[in-house]
C-alpha cells in the first residue's frame, strides 16, 4: 500500500481510518460515546429559547473582533501591562517555545504543571521543554492518561475518548501502582487526584491555555471542570498562559455570550465548573501571557479561511461529525481532528487527503456556537488543493463522477446542498470509495428529503 504514503511518510486519512475501522465494535462504541455528547448538547441548546440568537451574537462579536484584531490586541497588551502582567509575542511555534523556555530557565523551573492547551500541542511544546530538562506534567485527567500512554490527544475536549476504562486501568496499574484489573472510573479518578495533587504541591511553575482574553480588562479567562488549571496557577509563584491571537474578545459582555454557549455545546453542561478571570498575578508572583500567531494572520488573508478563527474550541463539531465519530481522532494528520481540524489543519497536511474526510453534510456548521461555516471552509480547501494540483491518491479518479457538482459554481457555493444531492442520486458504490475508509463498513448518511426537494424544484423550474 505504498501509494497511501506521501514522501514524508504520512498516511492519508482513508488509510488511517481503515486501521481504526477494522475493530467494528470499537468504532461503534466510539461513535456512540460521541453521539451521547451530541445529544446532551442538543438538550442544553434546546433548553434556551434564545439559543440561535446566542449563536448569531457569538458569530458577530467574533467577526467584529477579528476585523479589528490589531486594535484589540494592542488594547489587551496595554491593559495587561497596567495590571502587572508580562506580555510576549510569538510569530511561530519555535518562538513560542523559546519564550516559554526562557521564562522557565530564568526561574530555574524543573517541574511545570500544565492544563489543557491545544496551542501548546500545536507548538509541540512538551517535547521541546523535555529536551531542555524540564518535566512537564499534564494535569487534565484525560491529558494525563494520554501523556502516560505516550499518545497525542484524539479529541480537543475529551482527549482520551478513544480509550476503554480497562486500558486506563492497566495503564494506571503499570504507571501509578493502582490495583491490577481495577477499572472503576471513580477509583481511577481518585488515584489520579492523589497522584496529581503531589505534582501541584511540588511544581515550580504552571501553564494554562486561554479560553478568552478580555481586551478592555487585560484579563484572561480559563475554563475547566476539574479545577486543574487553577490548582496549578495558584500554588507556584510563576504562571504562564499561551493564547492564539484569535482568543481576544472586546469586553465582559462578549465573555457573557460565549460562556453561555461554550460548555453547553461541548458537553451539555450549563457552564464549566470553573470560569476563572485572571487580571494579574498573585501576591509576590509573576504572570506571563504569550500571544501566538503561528499561521493565523496567514489564514486572515483568505476571507473564507479567516472565519475558522471564530472557533472557541468547544469540540461540538467533532461530536456531531459522522466521519470523525467513525474514523477516530488519529486519522487527521493534525493535532486538531474533526471538522475544525480540517479547517485549520488542511494546509499542513502533506497527504492532501483530509479535506476529503468529510461528507459535506453540514452538521458541524449547524451545531457551531459561533457559526463557523465549516462545510464551506472544507469545500474551499478542496478547491485550494485542486487549484494547487495536489489532489490525494484516488480522488482524481473519482472527480469526473462528481465533477458535474464540483464544477458547477452555484452548487459549489452551496456545497451542503451539493453533497446532499450527491448522496441521493449517485449510487453508493460510486460514492463509497470517494468517501474513504470510514464509509466502507457503513451506509452513507441519508440525505434529508427536504433539501433534495428544494434543489429539485429549483432546478426543474429552470
Amino acid at each position: 500500500m505504498t501509494e497511501l504514503y506521501t514522501a514524508s511518510g504520512s498516511k492519508v486519512h482513508a488509510h488511517k481510518a481503515d486501521i481504526f475501522c477494522r475493530d467494528e465494535t470499537r468504532v461503534d462504541w466510539h461513535s456512540k460515546a460521541l453521539w451521547a455528547l451530541r445529544e446532551k448538547r442538543d438538550r442544553a441548546a434546546g433548553s434556551l429559547p434564545e439559543w440561535e440568537q446566542l449563536r448569531l451574537l457569538g458569530s458577530q462579536l467574533k467577526l467584529h473582533t477579528l476585523s479589528h484584531l490589531a486594535q484589540y490586541l494592542e488594547q489587551f497588551e496595554q491593559q495587561c501591562l497596567s495590571n502587572g502582567i508580562k506580555v510576549h509575542w510569538a510569530s511561530d511555534a519555535q518562538q513560542h517555545n523559546e519564550i516559554v523556555h526562557g521564562i522557565l530557565a530564568k526561574h530555574k523551573v524543573k517541574k511545570l504543571v500544565k492544563s489543557k492547551s491545544m496551542l501548546t500541542e500545536e507548538c509541540h511544546m512538551n517535547p521541546y521543554l523535555e529536551r531542555h530538562g524540564i518535566e512537564v506534567v499534564d494535569t487534565d485527567l484525560g491529558e494525563r492518561i494520554i501523556q502516560l500512554a505516550n499518545m497525542p490527544p484524539s479529541h480537543i475536549v475529551v482527549p482520551a475518548i478513544h480509550m476503554k476504562k480497562e486500558e486506563v486501568g492497566e495503564l494506571f496499574h503499570q504507571q501509578l501502582g493502582t490495583k491490577a484489573g481495577e477499572s472503576d472510573p471513580l477509583y481511577l479518578t481518585r488515584a489520579a487526584r492523589a497522584h496529581l495533587r503531589e505534582k501541584f504541591l511540588t511544581a515550580d511553575a504552571a501553564m494554562t491555555g486561554v479560553n478568552m482574553a478580555i481586551a478592555d480588562q487585560g484579563a484572561i479567562v480559563v475554563c475547566t471542570n476539574e479545577g486543574n488549571a487553577d490548582m496549578g496557577a495558584n500554588l507556584p509563584k510563576l504562571q504562564l498562559h499561551s493564547m492564539g491571537i484569535d482568543k481576544v474578545v472586546p469586553d465582559m459582555d462578549s465573555v457573557g455570550v460565549l460562556l453561555r454557549t461554550l460548555a453547553r455545546n461541548a458537553t451539555g453542561q450549563p457552564i464549566t465548573t470553573y470560569s476563572s478571570f485572571y487580571r494579574g498575578p498573585q501576591e509576590g508572583g509573576e504572570m506571563h501571557v504569550i500571544i501566538v500567531d503561528n499561521g493565523r494572520t496567514e489564514m486572515m488573508k483568505d476571507k473564507i479561511l479567516a472565519e475558522s478563527l471564530k472557533c472557541i474550541r468547544c469540540g461540538g463539531c467533532l461530536n456531531t461529525c459522522p466521519v470523525y465519530r467513525r474514523s477516530g481522532g488519529y486519522s487527521y494528520n493534525y493535532t486538531i481532528p474533526g471538522p475544525i481540524g480540517i479547517a485549520v489543519g488542511a494546509k499542513h497536511d502533506d497527504t492532501n487527503s483530509i479535506p476529503w474526510a468529510c461528507t459535506l453534510c453540514g452538521s458541524c456548521t449547524y451545531v457551531c456556537p459561533t457559526m463557523v461555516p465549516l462545510d464551506k471552509i472544507i469545500a474551499h480547501h478542496r478547491r485550494l488543493k485542486a487549484e494547487a494540483k495536489r489532489l490525494p491518491y484516488g480522488k482524481g479518479g473519482y472527480m469526473p463522477l462528481v465533477g458535474r457538482f464540483m464544477a458547477n459554481e452555484t452548487l459549489m457555493n452551496t456545497s451542503m446542498s451539493a453533497a446532499r444531492l450527491a448522496l441521493r442520486v449517485l449510487p453508493g458504490s460510486l460514492l463509497k470509495p470517494f468517501s474513504g475508509a470510514w464509509g466502507k463498513y457503513r451506509e452513507l448518511p441519508v440525505a434529508p428529503e427536504s433539501s433534495f426537494a428544494s434543489w429539485y424544484n429549483k432546478n426543474r423550474s429552470r
Binding site: A90, S91, K165, F277
Partner: protein, 187 residues
Amino acid sequence: MTNKHTILSALKQSALDQHAMPAMDVVANNDDLVGQFNASLNTVAGTLHSEGGLAALQQAVDELIQQNMQVISLLDGIKGNRQVPETAHDLADIDYAVIPGELGVAENGAIWVNQPSHRVTPFICENLILALAKDNIVANMHQAVKQVALQPGELGLFIAGPSKTADIEQALVVGAHGACSLNVYLY
C-alpha cells in the same frame, strides 16, 4: 521588527470586511430566580440550603469541627478552627473552606467569588461551602458579567458545583482536582 510588529502589520492584509459589534439585548427569564438557581445548582452537582441562613451555616461548621474536620472560614461572622496560613501550600489538609459568594446566576448555578486570600483556597479544600445573599441572584450571564467586580490585579471566578470529570469512558465522577462537594447557604 519585533514579533509584535510583524503580527500587527500582517493583520493589515486581512481579507475580512469590517463588522460592527452586535447589540446584546437578550431577553432574560426573571421568574422565580431562587427556584431556577436551585434547579441549576442541582444540575451541576451542588446542594442548596435555603433555610436558616448564616445561623444554619455556623451550626453546620460547628458540627464539622466536632467531627475533627479542619475548617477555614474567609466569611466574616463564621468561625472555623483554622487561620489563614503563611503559605498557600499549607492549605493542603483543609477539609472545608467557607467563602463568601458575591453573585449567583440562575441559568447555570454559577457563583461569582472575588479574590480569596490565598487564591488556591476554593480549589485546594476537600469540600467547599459558599454563602450567598438571596437578593444577589441574577437571571443570566449577560446580567452577571455586568455586575461582578473584577478588580485590576485580582482573580475573580464563577464556580458552578464541585470539580468533576468524565474523562474515563464518559462516566461522571464528582471530585477531580478541585473540591469534591459544594454546599451553598442562602441568606
